[in-house]
């Protein structure tokens, strides 16, 4: 059976990429299992699916993966989300190249600091998305592009917006997982070009 990575890569059954993925069945199963745990969990907790799809659409959008963006936009639509236009606007404003950021706490690395966009969902857009989702998108952008600038203060913005500690763990896993999955997908697309 094909899985989400196969769909996003465009893997066909029996192709070299399909065969190489099946040489690592545990990785293959649990990469998909991680997707299931985040987007079709057995115990949902207090981060609704619609919010999960919205964050995923934002993360893949700002990371420049159009195929994944199309996929998540579809799920968000099916999930009854009227957020897609707002997320699209946030993606337009937040798309950049990373990673970058300042090293504020490791003295010997200060000279490696790289400035870049410190994204925050625009004030005009925040009522439409709601403060809770907007805070999640702000944090997702930090994680995707300048994870070295993470801080306790950044986590407080999430809890102040109404996310519980467990919600913050789930949202962090979700964003971080997507940065993994989109690179597996990107890497396997390239492998498909050279596979023997």
């Amino acid at each position: 059976m094909s899985d989400v990575i196969d769909r996003l890569v465009g893997v066909t059954q029996g192709s070299p990429v399909d065969q190489v993925r099946r040489r690592r069945p545990v990785t293959r199963d649990h990469a998909q299992g991680s997707w299931n745990a985040l987007f079709e969990p057995q115990v949902l907790g207090t981060v609704p699916l619609k919010e999960r799809y919205a964050v995923a659409l934002f993360v893949t959008g700002v990371s420049g993966d159009e195929v994944a963006g199309f996929y998540w936009a579809g799920l968000l639509r099916e999930g009854g989300g009227d957020w897609a236009p707002g997320i699209d606007q946030a993606v337009q404003a937040g798309t950049t190249h990373g990673p970058y950021g300042r090293y504020d706490t490791h003295g010997n690395l200060a000279h490696e600091s790289v400035e870049g966009l410190r994204f925050r969902v625009a004030d005009a857009l925040r009522p439409q998305l709601g403060e809770k989702l907007a805070a999640a998108l702000d944090h997702a952008h930090l994680l995707v592009f300048r994870p070295r600038e993470s801080s306790q203060a950044a986590l407080k913005l999430l809890t102040d917006a109404g996310w519980s500690v467990t919600d913050v763990v789930t949202l962090s896993q979700l964003v971080a997982f997507l940065t993994f999955q989109l690179r597996v997908v990107a890497g396997l697309r390239v492998l498909g070009e050279v596979a023997r």
Binding site: V26, L38, A176
Partner: protein, 192 residues
Amino acid sequence: MSRTPQGFTQSQVSWSPWLPPLPEAEFTDLHREALVDPARAKNPYFALLARDPETLRERTKTDNDIFYNADGGLPRAERELAATAASRINGCVLCASVHSRFASQHSGRSGDVQKLLDQGVKGDQDPRWRALLDAAEALTQTPPRLEASHLERLREFGLDDLALADLIHSTAFFQWANRLMLSLGEPLEPSS
């Protein structure tokens, strides 16, 4: 007093969470299963991630297979090299300390690993590690910039499709690991 490490190191670094881990008294069978290794209940990082047990369980099983599956593919040392490179680029001092030690241990090339920490991924390395680091560096960018030429170059050193897939997965996995470690707590030099 513990303090923040000043830069990248192969020495032991500890980690302090910014959010409360799940108290051990609140662990259920589901949480213990998620840890995979029960001793991890005492580790603040895994005890914090245990708040979302389904995700932790799947993540741990993915992690262990990508790095420990010894059935062919990329040598363990070079999977750890990729993990160290990703951590060096993203700025995860803790992840880099753990996986640079593994890279040194499995390759026997502690000096070259130290050069990676000191000079970064563009520093001087032998041609095979140069090619591995270039591919890992390209894949760590957002958006990823890995190209066919990176993988063709690695083929010249005998990497087959499985080894290339292992490199992709090891590098990709550390995007996940780095972002959790960096955003949920901070590295500290162990109190002596």
